[in-house]
Assembly symmetry: C2
Homo-oligomer: 202 residues x 2
DNA sequence: AAGATACGGAACGGTTCCGTATCGTTAGCG
DNA sequence: CGCTAACGATACGGAACCGTTCCGTATCTT
């Protein structure tokens, strides 16, 4: 974690203040390098410093090591989940499902796959990942509960499983390109409608 | 790729033949190290050799480098997909969905997440991944088609999207632990039933 | 027995990276 | 102006790893 917090009420230490531009450049360079195909392991502090136009010492002044910098940089990718309009349940679900694996920062789509192995190894990273997606899950949970209240959805719905049914197809397709012949266009609508109506004949 | 193929009809070259035990030990050591938490990048030829009780030269005699060895080792993880019983569509789907992310080799479950970033970077790895899962997709496709023929499933079914709806939830939960509070026990049944019946009230 | 080849082990040079230290320089504060 | 700390740049020792090349030994074929 960087030490940029609690700088407001500090007694303004003497000397040259830390460059805000360097802060930004370091994090941006990290995300750029990750998005360009470097994995978390192969990325190096030296490459980040070179890309940011910064000395290595400037990085070590702010973060204790590579892992802390990476965790801090990944945290920046957390965008705000979209706000469903609140008209029909179907429309709201389409909005939320469309946003799965689709963050504000376009680099996130390329970086996210690198996170998958980390999530399974480091409890901290798992916690970070959960803290990013839980707000989106909460939003979807709320829409489903509303659907039950309004009578649009079955009252005996298993909400948590339903969220996985809506999120899973989008995630494996966007992160893993699970099915080469499945085009992303219109996929959210098709998934939402499929989950809504079911596949059993009647 | 190893050169163990086409050794049958070779004119039996003189000298000491390659040790089959070394072949096996190297691949096993590679998979063990991956399953123990080493990622594809952090794993080293030296570690593999040490674990296999083998000299590095013995590895380089067989594979040109680390990537070739890893690709070859990962190929071994491809198990055979399960055979659905063919009784009811629901039972068959439960069998297939239960097998998602659940290979014969127990190490596969731990190794698979490491494959995710590779799949997005190397076309070869993507091809390998597809060749592993396509037979399972084909099996599920066949069950869905049979369900349409027998009238158990809607005739206007989007088969490819339905497969994603069945596979996605299992995959994100088993590979990513997407939802901490979602227990794996009974999840296949709940997913299959959810997709079968839909969530819309009626 | 003789020849050929693979074996495990060890070493080597080259590369990369980390984390630290040390330059001379620069920006803000009193 | 003078103080102070951060700045970019560079160099360093240590470590890890790669790919290669030697050993002396083991094992198979002829």
């Amino acid at each position: 974690m960087s030490d940029m917090t609690s700088a407001a009420d500090a007694p303004r230490s003497p000397g040259r203040p830390r460059s805000v531009r360097a802060d930004e450049a370091i994090v941006e360079a990290t995300l750029d390098l990750l998005a360009e195909g470097n994995s978390v392991e192969t990325i190096s502090i030296e490459a980040i410093a070179a890309r940011a136009g910064v000395g290595k010492a400037t990085i070590y002044r702010r973060w204790p090591g590579k892992d802390a910098l990476l965790t801090d940089a990944l945290r920046r990718l957390k965008g705000n989940p979209p706000a469903p309009a609140g008209r029909s349940i179907r429309d709201d679900l389409v909005v939320l499902v469309s946003a799965v694996g689709h963050h504000i920062d376009p680099r996130a789509a390329r970086i996210m796959p690198c996170l998958v192995p980390r999530v399974n190894r480091s409890p901290d990273e798992y916690q970070l990942y959960q803290s990013i997606i839980e707000p989106r899950r909460a939003l979807m949970r709320e829409v489903l509960r509303r659907g039950i209240r309004t009578g649009e959805l079955r009252p005996d719905l298993d909400i948590e499983v339903t969220m996985a049914m809506l999120t899973g197809p989008m995630l494996i397709q966007r992160v893993l390109r699970w099915h080469p012949d499945l085009d992303d266009a219109g996929l959210p609508e098709r998934v939402v409608d499929g989950v809504l109506e079911g596949i059993r004949a009647r």
